[in-house]
């Protein structure tokens, strides 16, 4: 319990002291998380929309598979991406292993299933009469998509929040692909793991609090945007 208090205290000290290492870690985290959420969104939303609005054989099975992939352990994603990005792997030439780019790659893959799945759920929840109205007003494909996203904006926003949360809080992929290299690929979660393994529990908690503070700010901003 004491650790918790000192953790909070340490968090404030770190923030107030503008500890350069913490700042670097936080910036790296933000950069990687935002990039993967952005790319993940750009992929998941059209993907989810295509699955929702198209009729094809095996659609239900595909959705089940996407939902299954929610359970993909981050280490497995990390491992698979490692194999792909490794020097001996198919994308070895990119030299993305142990770089932020590699981490963005891995986290994007990690969050696509849940973001696409929640997008599908969000779009399926729209009253069919809304779809009919949009179609009969003569929307082009893009307008059709935009109007649906707008109508389901709360649920889509929630999907993005879930994707963001998953990306910022996961550690398995980050450590497998990034390697937790100090000053380069160390992010909040890998730093937390490291501090924990070193027994520095209060420092871990301090970093955890910083991470949650970031998430809270993002959520409040999103909530503010939603309510406008």
């Amino acid at each position: 319990m004491n650790d918790l208090l000192t953790g909070v205290q340490t968090a404030f000290e770190l923030i107030l002291a503008a500890d350069p290492e913490v700042i670097t870690i936080t910036l790296t985290t933000l950069r990687i998380t935002f990039s993967s959420v952005l790319i993940g969104t750009l992929i998941s939303i059209p993907l989810g929309a295509a699955i929702t609005f198209r009729e094809f054989r095996g659609k239900k099975t595909l959705i089940s598979i996407i939902q299954t992939l929610y359970a993909l352990p981050t280490v497995i994603v990390g491992l698979l991406c490692y194999m792909v990005l490794s020097r001996s792997g198919p994308l070895g030439d990119l030299k993305w292993l142990f770089t932020p780019n590699g981490m963005i790659f891995g986290q994007t893959i990690l969050i696509i299933p849940i973001m696409a799945g929640l997008t599908i759920a969000a779009l399926q929840a729209i009253d069919p009469i809304i779809t009919d109205t949009i179609r009969s007003l003569g929307a082009t494909r893009l307008q059709f998509l935009k109007s649906h996203l707008r109508e389901a904006r709360f649920a889509i926003m929630a999907a993005v929040i879930v994707g963001f949360s998953r990306a910022i809080s996961e550690v398995g992929t980050a450590i497998m692909i990034g390697g937790n290299i100090k000053g380069h690929t160390r992010v909040l979660t890998t730093a937390i793991s490291l501090q924990t393994s070193m027994g520095n529990f209060n420092l871990s908690l301090a970093l955890g609090i910083i991470l949650l503070a970031i998430a809270l700010i993002i959520n409040l901003i999103m909530g503010f945007v939603q309510n406008r």
Partner: protein, 284 residues
């Protein structure tokens, strides 16, 4: 060992919990010894394999009965704080310096300290020379820091050098990364044994006295932690320095690894730089 799953999820009464470092766990030696111990004493032994720092922290919180680590500096601090008692040395092996086959820093054949100096030297001019550090305050990391110190460097300088990569990860992860970067790293021999086959790295400096890696066992002080299973802990320590276990150590791993993972501690007090008592006196 399915029978160990306790359906209620509670500890069975006679249960000994060991907090240990991952390098010990990786050889599966503990699994073997735990079964033997159970046969001998009826005590269920379980271990959690975590980083050295966390293992000691768990013990400080009275959540483990026994600690098994390989970091003399941290161990001494733990004992001085009054948490650890009855330290015994169980065995040793050597860290090894591994690196790329082409060995750009030419460390092969050098002794431990000289090899580190050679790496630093080469790295200043050759950008292909990279050193990857565990960077996780583990026993291995501790030794690496010592080696820099012994080479006459200030670790704070080394730590910020462009060729020095702090992985902040376990041994396996660090080895993988070193392999990818074709760099150098210090590894414990047990982890190397399990990882070797996946890697293109080769051992360049082995069995150097500066690379000596001593494994110790101690129990958590029942005065600071009244709930610990002191009886079983003492039995475990005595079991570890018993002839039975020491004999196992002398052959364990030969099948898989060619050589044993550990050398028994008994009779090698001078090699390890510890007192004879620490290798053989049973605790009471």
């Amino acid at each position: 060992s399915a029978e160990k799953v306790d359906t209620l999820g509670e500890h069975s009464e006679d249960r000994l919990l060991i907090a240990t470092t991952t390098s010990l766990d990786a050889t599966k030696l503990l699994d073997l010894l735990e079964e033997k111990f159970k046969e001998d004493t009826g005590v269920n032994v379980e271990h959690v394999a975590v980083g050295t720092g966390m293992a000691l922290e768990i013990a400080r919180n009275c959540d483990a009965d026994v600690v098994m680590v390989h970091d003399r500096v941290a161990e001494d601090k733990f004992i001085d704080e009054g948490f650890g008692v009855d330290r015994r040395v169980i065995g040793y092996n050597y860290f090894l310096l591994v690196g790329p086959e082409n060995d750009p820093a030419k460390v092969s054949g050098l002794n431990g300290t000289a090899a580190f100096m050679a790496i630093e030297d080469a790295a200043e001019s050759d950008p292909s020379v990279v050193f990857v550090s565990r960077g996780d305050a583990s026993g291995t990391h501790s030794r690496e820091k010592l080696l820099w110190k012994w080479g006459g460097y200030d670790y704070a300088d080394i730590n910020v050098s462009p060729w020095y990569r702090e992985a902040g990860a376990g041994m396996g992860q660090t080895l993988t990364m070193t392999d990818e970067l074709q760099g150098y790293t210090l590894s414990d021999s047990a982890s190397w044994g399990t990882y070797e086959s996946n890697l293109s790295l080769v051992p360049l400096v082995e069995n150097d006295e500066k690379f000596l890696n001593v494994y110790a066992v101690m129990r958590v002080n029942d005065e600071t932690c009244p709930d610990v299973n002191t009886d079983a802990a003492k039995k475990w320590i005595n079991f570890m320095i018993s002839d039975e276990v020491q004999d196992i150590l002398s052959t364990y791993g030969v099948e898989k690894n060619g050589v044993p993972y550990f050398s028994p501690g008994r009779g090698s007090a001078d090699v390890m730089g510890v007192t004879d008592e620490e290798t053989k006196d049973p605790v009471v």
